[in-house]
Amino acid sequence: MKSAVVLLPGLNRDRDMIAALTRISGTAPLTVWQTETQIPAVDLIVIPGGFSYGDYLRCGAIAARMPVMRAVAEKARQGVMVLGVCNGFQILLEAGLLPGALMRNTSLKFVCREVKLEVANAGTAFTRNYSQGQIIRCPVAHHDGNYFADAETLARIEGQGQVAFRYAEGTNPNGSINDIAGIVSERGNVLGLMPHPENLIEAAHGGADGRALFESALGIAA
């Protein structure tokens, strides 16, 4: 399985993401700069976390309008898997590849800690190596992770099983509606989540609960 990592100015989790993908897939991902209008044939495209364009205007708003995002949208339309983590999730929402929006944490504080996540849908291509309802550990580090969608959109994504991960055991760090931590697109090939699974993939990280997400996406058997 081949992967690619999208690079934009102000992202800072790209090296962690590249390391995780290299370690898990055995091959270094391609990197694609923001001005590229074509993305080579890959199975998984990842938009990592950080602060693209300094979070100016709204988190992810400017990044979402860069040429590479038109290429990402086209690949998503073709069914290629797309993963956005943290700022990557914000960018996918701003690009209209996922429904809803991410707002300032209700605490108004930047939150950097470990949370518990429930695998709310283990039937997606990104979660199939987890079991339904499994509780995993995962780090979060964000200021704007408070997921919001209007009532109609929320009912739709809940009804269609598009909520992939929820904050569990009272660890919702940002006030997200319905404890939503990550959602997939209607077709299931695009996942956005605020937590950082790439930072919990091996013993040196203190655990490997995030590894199954990448193994699921990369088609590696559990």
Binding site: A61, I62, L93, T106
Partner: protein
């Protein structure tokens, strides 16, 4: 030159944690009569030329495509 002011505000029903914090701070300063505060954004945009109708259409497109996130925000355009 056409000068326009775009105001972007959160839609009703969308929680505004920053507005709430400002509301609390105003209360702490002794302003007891504050019912609520909602925070928004203002953009002053200068458009070259004198085509007012064209400028209005462009400004609307700018709001839809970038300046507002219409999932959570409303916008208004004023050309004085």
């Amino acid at each position: 030159m056409i000068k326009a002011r775009i105001t972007v505000t959160l839609k009703n029903g969308v929680l505004d944690p920053q507005g709430k914090a400002i509301e609390g701070a105003l209360g702490a300063l002794g302003f007891d009569g504050v019912g609520s505060v909602r925070q928004g954004k203002v953009f002053d945009v200068e458009i070259q030329g004198t085509d007012r109708a064209g400028a209005e259409a462009d400004l609307k497109a700018m709001c839809e495509k970038l300046l507002a996130n219409t999932v959570i925000e409303n916008y208004s355009i004023a050309i004085p």
